[in-house]
Amino acid sequence: MGRIEAAAAIGPFAAPRRPRASLRRAWHRVRRVRGGLAGSAAVVIIVGLTLFAPWLAPHDPYVGRVVDRLLPPAWMDGGSAAFPLGTDQIGRDVLSRLIYGGRISLVISVLAVGVAGAVGLSLGLFAGFYRGWADWMISAAVDVMLTFPFILLALATIAVLGPSIRNVVIVLGITGWPIYTRVVRAETVRLRSLEFTMAARALGATSARIVLRHLLPNLVNAVIVIASLDVARFIIVEAFLSYLGLGVQPPIPSWGGMLGDFRAFMFDRWWLPTFPGTAIFVTALAVNLMGDGLRDLLDPQSRRP
């Protein structure tokens, strides 16, 4: 696998590990990864918050009284304790919408990553394992997808399908799979030519068995690391699409949609766009740290003195 590739995304991978590493060594590795722990903890908290939205959110995110509109946060002049972070243009509680919006954003990102990862993994595995014509076709497709500017593809796809949550997941999935394919394919090619594969084949293992028992576990490591970073990336991309009006449709709350809606308020009610922006930032940071930690965990050679 090319060094460049490695450096770009996930750090160099060493020789494949056996499926079960010793627990002790794993623990030592975990200890070194403080950032990753902090990130993971934050992610757990955020996910928990959004999961328990119905119990945590003080108000219904879809209901607001126009007479309550544009109240500032509780600690400012004119704010009210009933609306800790203030209200939006039609009186809906910003905090509640943030919590529910987080749910939507996370669900979309995770689903999209799932789609992209599954498709990418299968295609990459297929291409790397069987080589030849299939490999050539798939690699060409990957090149095309990576060269075609994402945003144009997204715009065009949404123009055809119409904006909705489902279609956002589709768009993200369609544009996200190439990177998985590329990495998985390269890794597969590499692994396949190593001794243990040949040994297994010599011992009479079928292709399927080779793939499942020997290749997949190592590939999954790579995919997991990319996936975790992609979740952060997709949260941001979904925010971008919603801002353009191509993503989650109102009145469904989403961080990107809120950011776009509140943008013009920067002039005099600066807190409004700051809240969803901060939410996006913190979540992306947490997921990134977790992803970095995962990489450090799963790849022994990235440890440094």
Binding site: G64, V66, V67, R69, Q89, G245, Q249, D261, F267
Partner: protein
């Protein structure tokens, strides 16, 4: 020579009446003439007079305001006045070109511009006298031949002008003197005069010599500003025409900047780089007013917005084919609150008609906000658990439309009508869907009535069963509006429209919204008020 716009209008109206009496024109055609002459007068009553800027005594004139800048939504595709159909194109062209006639903003009638007077000779012939001693920016003279050339050009099929349809009633133009033309129409053409205010004059020799492609990028007209340069995609610059035949502009340079993002245009206004911004969102008005650098100005316009419901089932069976469901939707709306809090004002339209339309009946009640009644009606109609509906939305000009849509969506959902918004970016796409019958069961719609201040301008095009914009078929209503457009008796017409409005109210083919007011951001370095006909005239602005 000074000609009164009112006199011109009345003079011509006399003639149309004469022709009608003699049976030379049909009722419909005479009716159009009445419309054109009288409707605008009605509007003059409602629109506040547009003051041409406070008369600042010369001594106090602001220290050299050198450039006045208007923000446009997007760059123009061309500077050839005959080859576009954009509102912003019209605005820019108004500065560099003149028209044959122009709207007097006090009386709202069409008055003289490059043509000083016109009169009807026969129902299909007009005589026009042109202003003398007018020169184009390149020195070419404006003559009767110029007028003939321009009409020929627009009507020429090979030219493929998108404005051709506007003038297709004109048959041909004859030069009858150095400053006189006779215009022949294919049929009686009462709105001929209205059309005069949006037809710019190009110099013949220049166009023929340089060709269309050059003219599209180097416009030459007779207007108060002359073209200076065009940085494509970015801005258009114009310089004051010091040899202008009319009142000279106060500010030496005019600039039209393409700023697609609304928030950016407001930022530019506050930074002092732009003087006029059209379409400011309602919620940013406060920020603008507080800044001390600019002010937000509200202007009433004729345009009306509503949410059309598929009452006729054009897009297929849906709950809105039941009158009770449509009424329930209207009872769910809290328009008073929306107008008061989410809009910079607005005129309620309980039967879709704007109070500015001739024929508007103020006694038609609007649906009171009553969610309980709404739920009861829905239950009666068989939708106790409510229902889902796709709602096509788009930006049709209403200030803060997204906020309003969110509020409406919330209220509708509160009674069980779960409307799912689907945003359509390009208005063109929405219109395609509407005309092909696929826009149901709910879609946003707005109508400016082509600046015709008469109920017919809206009812016929939007609600007559034969129109492809209409998702409602009601026989009696169709009969009433047909009758109303075929008679000249104003009182009779009013009665027909009153009945028609009651039907519209009772049948509720749409969710009624309101006639909205436009918000402009204006720099405090200029004195300028928005014009009622939505054409910003920078040459009327004076420095403060």
């Amino acid at each position: 020579m000074s000609v009164n716009a009112d006199e011109l209008a009345l003079e011509n109206l006399d003639r149309w009446f004469y022709f009608f009496k003699k049976g030379l024109i049909t009722r419909r055609e005479f009716f159009q003439a009445v419309l054109a002459a009288g409707g605008a007068a009605g509007a003059g009553v409602f629109f506040p007079e547009a003051p041409l800027g406070a008369r600042v005594p010369e001594a106090r004139a602001a220290a050299s305001k050198d450039t006045i800048t208007l923000a446009l939504n997007s760059d123009l595709p061309t500077l050839d006045p005959h080859m576009h159909i954009l509102r912003e194109g019209i605005i820019v062209m108004y500065h560099m070109f003149n028209n044959l006639g122009t709207r007097d903003l006090k009386t709202m009638q069409i008055g003289p511009d490059l043509a000083t007077s016109w009169k009807i000779v026969t129902p299909t012939t007009w005589d026009m006298v042109l202003r003398q001693d007018v020169k184009f920016h390149n020195g070419d003279p404006f003559t009767a031949q110029t007028v003939k050339f321009n009409y020929d050009r627009v009507l020429d099929p090979a030219q493929k002008s998108p404005q051709r349809g506007n003038h297709e009633a004109i048959d041909h133009v004859e030069v009858t003197g150095p400053s006189q033309v006779r215009i022949y129409t294919k049929r009686p053409y009462p709105i001929f005069v209205e059309r005069l205010q949006n037809f710019q004059m190009l110099p013949e020799k220049y166009v023929k010599e340089k060709g269309d492609a050059y003219v599209a990028e180097h416009p030459v007209g007779t207007g108060p500003y002359r073209f200076a340069d065009w940085r494509r995609g970015s801005e258009i610059n114009a310089v004051r025409n010091d040899d202008y035949w009319g009142p000279k502009a106060s500010i030496p340079h005019a600039k039209f900047r393409a700023i697609p993002d609304v928030a950016t245009s407001v930022a530019e206004l506050l930074a002092g780089n732009v003087d006029i911004v059209r379409y400011v969102p309602t919620d940013q008005m406060a920020a603008i007013n507080k800044s001390g650098r600019a002010r937000a100005v509200v202007q009433r316009i004729l345009r009306v917005q509503y949410i059309a419901l598929d009452a006729a089932g054009r897009s297929g069976p849906n709950p809105f084919t039941d009158k009770r469901v449509r009424q329930a939707a209207n009872h769910a709306m809290d328009s008073d609150t929306y107008i008061k809090r989410l809009q910079p004002g607005g005129d309620k339209t309980p039967a879709v008609l704007n109070p500015l339309h001739f024929g508007y009946d103020p006694s038609v009640p609007s649906y009171p906000h009553n969610p309980d009644l709404a739920r009861r009606l829905l239950a009666e109609a068989g939708y106790k658990a409510g229902f889902d509906a796709r709602w096509l939305t788009s930006n049709l000009g209403m200030p803060s439309y997204q906020t309003v849509n969110d509020a409406i969506g919330q209220d509708l959902a509160g009674v069980g009508i779960r409307a799912k918004q689907q945003y359509i970016q390009a208005t063109q796409t929405l219109v395609e869907l509407i005309t092909s019958g696929k826009a149901g069961p709910m879609f946003d719609f707005s109508w400016g009535s082509y600046s015709v201040f008469d109920a017919d301008g809206l009812y016929w095009d939007c609600f007559h069963p034969s129109s492809n914009l209409s998702y409602w078929k009601h026989e009696r209503f169709a009969q009433l509006i047909k009758a109303a457009r075929g008679t000249l008796d104003a009182d009779l017409r009013k009665r027909f429209y009153a009945s028609a409005q009651r039907i519209v109210h009772e049948e509720a083919p749409v969710i009624f919204e309101w006639g909205f007011h436009s918000v402009f951001g204006v720099s405090n370095t200029i004195d300028w008020t928005p014009e009622a006909d939505e054409i910003a005239r920078l040459y009327n602005a004076k420095p403060r």
